[in-house]
Point group: C3
């Protein structure tokens, strides 16, 4: 087709929006530069995850040291901090506030102009705050309440009696079943489903009868939920996602799960019914957790682990079934040595045979027949 | 924003719908109470999964004993059953029928008024039964046939030549590719995709050429399919989900899989192409099953297991790769003891060295050099 | 309901489209038959995945031998090839081209008539090629560019500034966030989400602050993406899916991942941020790969494996954590023997005790107290 490539001037204009150097950033945050003001900055990130091109912030000397060693190309710090690094420093009185300002500056402007698209289907009783955007082909049920500056993108469905608080964004094709509540400043990514029935049945004769799930889902403030995640409604009461928790794509949260505040739940994690997750918990990718267990505050669970029992606060667990990280690493270490150990083991058997022969002793316990077939020398004892 | 919280009278009215006590339940089912008629009941469930607040049913004395020990707060039983428990019993001639009545009474009224929303896009040739609901922004293709009382919620897409039988509910944004058939009384949750092409390619030169998938998907009666599940169409013939089977969220079913009746498939399970699952099989969360194997009737597979070979009827398998449960538990038990066993093992080596020294024997098989570095005493032999 | 079953003549007509025998196929590709021209053919496939009823192609004698042993019922080969098999051969000068012709002949006609459905919501600035189909209830943003013969099915959302190249199909309810580009001849299945924000946060005080993701997603030519897959946009630059790569359902691809050409990525795989996958890599179902690793060209990773380190080109890895296949199979073999080895081990302990008793030696290292409780005979030494 013709015209598939952008005109170069158009593309230049778009790219220019994201071209920053240290000088431009210092001007934005009102800071003073030590080092090269022309260093290009392409992104903003935390110190631990900094890539080449990123700017980070460091409020303590320890963090400044870490930041210097990271892949970051520029660092926001306090006026009284200094370092021999060749990386440019931008000195500001409040590095944290400057950093938040930069996060905003680098964010794409996702919010469209307020207004309700004429193709949206909105029930008569729905209540809207100020500055709300409702995109094309959205459907909104009865008794729904939408806060200020909420952004509801194309194809979203909001069931009856849902409540969405201020400044939250629902990306395209999100589905909220009835009575789900979502807090302030949340991001719910495309295709996520909140409030589907929990997975519960009662055996009656030869059939599994569906058990009513009349509870709901409550998502607190500042939560992010990844694309195509599924968070089931509670049997009674609420499934809860605590304030500040971040959830990656394709995560499954079953009925009556309670997740605490500021947790990090990586992609494809599955948490079974009625399990409780504390605050500040980190669950790495593809972790599975059975029903009715407790994971304590600050616990960390390694990728692909299978959690079958409670994890204490601060515990670092790994493996399937999950055990304390140190023990799991020991297990892996032993597993790696097993082939060599097996050779030693066979050698020891021969040495014992030699000792027994020297002493003219009968073996007190002969190898099993099954084993003998694998061990040619056994019949010689 | 103002008005985000419901008026208290409104909320009270809604909550009151779900407030039950034993007296009200006994009146509904026509039963006689032994015990406290004021005990509050908040839900209905099977004995094995009962939570505090639930009512359960027990038709035999053995189940009554189990029910008494469960978290349930009230029990439906026969007139001739009795127990010393403090939990209230409701005696009815048919506890099972009374239980089914309660399941209905506690279920939320999900079905909207029949009718086709004016924003739905329905092909001219589609056929509808009685009492059908078609929500806003639904699209329905050519030659589609919809049974009586089917409920098609907002944003659903139904491809050409699909058939949906009586009393089935499709939740928002479900997608049926062409020629999918769904039985009676099914629940297909939001975002589920039925009938996408199977994952099959033929290498031709350096490219993978897409192989045609001209089969379909058939979902039998009384099936529930979780949110964002994916069930692929067959290459030829049908991918089949048997009657009464229940599937949790984010499950993947590949082309030509045949699943039997009344299976329980927990979240994030993946089943590869042409595999056959018997009747009454239970697959726990995140299980993976390779292609072209058979899982026998009544088999159970533990969470996160990886099934690579056939499983016999009634088998209980666990682990990755999956082995019989008893063997897997033995393996885990040995794995847990390995660090201690390693200490013993090193001790035995020293004892053998001491024996050899006492007898002035040469070691018949010396430890490997690699091992010697990990075992300081080895050079002393 | 009445009329739920198709009239038999209607069904016959539909089925007849897919009824082929060897004679009809030979006529289509202009080939000569050795064997039974009446053999029925129901599908087309690669040799390795052939099922009963399939036709395959074999350009070399080695492949012809494999094809004869496969489940295929008929084989396309060169005029100069022959075999004693009872399977019919169809001889053509270019078996590969004949095979491609058959693939097309067996494919369902998925493409509807070109045109834009009146219920689609298309921004004024969107540009369309020739022969484009836009289904009902689609929404297309500003500055979008759509190539020739692109097929955009019901309920799809295409964000601002996306580019979709010629002959690509987007199935129902696919979501493209802004600035995603998709190449020629791609299939993006229902519910897939391309371009959601990467999962990245910077800790600021007690909160996790969302890090801007201003990069995009680029899908090259001839890619297939399964239903409900999630491919996140890059932090800066692009997340890339290389030409010819095929991806099954429910796969998660994190921000800044680069996938090479002609890879096969089976269902429920998850790949974490900034990881690089070479060309021709095969990742089996439910594999997880951590961030920032490299998987070399032609590597193969077994189902449910957890990749934590780089994999060299051509490596075959398996297990969680993943190790070379040969080593993993050795580990499994040893694991399977451990119960028997434990019995031998206990026998060796007794033999050493007997030797020590005979020599009147003290044990140089006694078993631990913990162990003694599990080993009744220990106290007898």
């Amino acid at each position: 087709m013709r015209g598939l490539l952008m005109a170069s001037t158009e593309r230049d204009a778009i790219e220019q929006q994201n071209v920053w150097n240290v000088g431009r950033i210092a001007a934005l945050v009102g800071g003073n530069i030590s080092g090269d003001a022309n260093t290009m900055v392409t992104g903003v990130s935390g110190i631990d995850t900094a890539e080449s091109g990123d700017i980070v912030f460091a409020e303590s000397d320890r963090y400044l040291e870490t930041a210097v060693k990271s892949n970051a190309v520029a660092i926001l710090c306090r006026p009284d901090q200094s370092h021999t690094t060749t990386k440019p420093l931008i000195h500001v009185s409040e590095p944290r506030l400057a950093f938040l300002k930069l996060l905003s500056a680098f964010s794409p402007a996702v919010k469209p102009e307020p207004g309700i698209d004429p193709t949206a289907v909105v029930a008569a009783g729905a209540l809207f705050g100020e500055g709300v955007y409702v995109g094309p082909l959205v459907s909104i049920g009865e008794h729904v309440k939408i806060g200020d500056r909420v952004c509801i993108q194309a194809g979203v469905h909001i069931g009856d009696s849902c409540v969405i608080d201020d400044d939250t964004i629902l990306y395209p094709n999100v589905v909220l079943y009835p009575s789900v509540t979502v807090g302030k400043r949340c991001y719910i990514h495309a295709g996520a489903v909140l409030g589907a029935d929990g997975f519960g049945y009662a055996p009656v004769g030869n059939m599994l009868q569906k058990v009513p799930h009349i509870g709901s889902v409550r998502v607190e403030d500042d939560v992010e939920i990844g694309a195509n995640c599924c968070i089931d409604r509670a049997k009674t009461e609420e499934t809860v996602i605590g304030a500040g928790t971040k959830m990656d794509n394709l995560v499954h949260i079953a009925h009556n799960v309670k997740i605490g505040k500021c947790c990090v739940i990586v992609s494809q994690v599955g948490i079974a019914g009625s399990t409780t997750i504390g605050n500040g918990v980190i669950l790495a990718g593809q972790v599975g957790i059975v029903d009715h267990v407790n994971v304590g505050d600050g616990a960390q669970v390694g990728a692909q682990s299978g959690v079958r029992y409670d994890i204490p606060a601060g515990g670092r667990f790994f493996g399937s079934p999950a055990v304390p990280m140190a023990r799991r690493l020991k297990e892996i270490s032993i597993k790696n040595k097993l082939p060599d150990i097996m050779k030693e083991f066979r050698g020891m058997q021969k040495r014992i045979q030699a000792l027994e022969a020297a002493l003219h002793l009968e073996a007190t316990d002969s190898p099993s027949a099954a084993d003998a077939t694998e061990q040619p020398g056994a019949s010689e004892s």
